[in-house]
């Protein structure tokens, strides 16, 4: 069951990002996992800034500001913990494929305006948080060795699940 979910999460990410490589996210070490999480946070912050620049829907603005506020708070904690552990996050295949997927999506979304943008943004927020949450819950948390890193990921997952629920509300609102 757990393995199945992990594979599902991995294939979701891979298909989302169009990566050809099928490397296994559950084989990443703690510092690679930390890197993926940091990149995933930064990507959602970038989507949010795009939304603030393009959308004129006040609900989308509130949502985007929450994404920026929360993902920055998580990254601040992650950097503090890495500093305390005197560790550097390590770049890896998954961070790179997430980043590539994000570049493509930002290019696509920046062409959209009005309702078309709002819909695309809200739908992507829902899909993105779902995929990342699957990854964090099923591929990362069971494999993280450091207890403090694990507990930060558990707290992060709580936040991103709240975002997933919030994104679901947003999708309903803009459709």
């Amino acid at each position: 069951m757990k393995l199945k979910m992990t594979l599902l999460a991995a294939s979701l990410i891979v298909s989302m990002t169009g990566a050809a490589k099928a490397e296994d996210p559950s084989k990443l070490n703690d510092l690679e996992i930390a890197h993926v999480a940091y990149v995933a946070d930064v990507i959602d912050i970038r989507y949010a800034h795009l939304a603030l620049a393009i959308s004129s829907n006040p609900d989308i603005h509130e949502f985007a500001k929450t994404m920026i506020r929360d993902h920055e708070a998580v990254n601040e904690q992650a950097l503090a913990l890495l500093g305390k552990l005197n560790a550097q996050p390590q770049d890896n295949f998954l961070s790179q494929s997430l980043q590539k997927g994000a570049e493509e999506l930002i290019t696509e979304m920046s062409q959209l305006r009005g309702d078309a943008f709002d819909k695309r943004y809200a739908e992507n927020e829902l899909a993105y948080h779902k995929a990342v949450n699957n990854l964090v819950e099923n591929a990362f948390i069971p494999n993280i060795e450091n207890a403090e890193v694990k507990s930060l990921f558990e707290a992060g997952l709580e936040i991103f699940k709240a975002h997933e629920g919030h994104a679901e509300m947003m999708v309903k609102k803009v459709n």
Partner: protein, 113 residues
Amino acid sequence: MHRRRFLQTSVAALAATGSSSALHAATKAPTHHDITIYRFKFVPDTLDVRVGDTITWQNKDIAPHTATANDDSWTTDELGKRQSQTLTVTAGMSGDYYCVYHPHMKAKLTIAS
């Protein structure tokens, strides 16, 4: 900043409660209540209070939250990780409140008469 908000609220409470019954409530040893914000929930999510009581909201999440009236008539500031804020209960605070940043976080204050 939080202290100033607290004082303003206290003054507003006195101004709003100039009647004898409110003075009675105010002189009858106000109670202090604690509400914890943890895992995207207000705990407890319903609370019976009296005018003049104090309530402290403490955020134990990493994500910043607020406690804000549904009708916007009162609010805490943004509460970051481990931050707390105390408000004095005024007559107008009865009813539903939520977190502005995470609108699915809902709670309620009930004011006993």
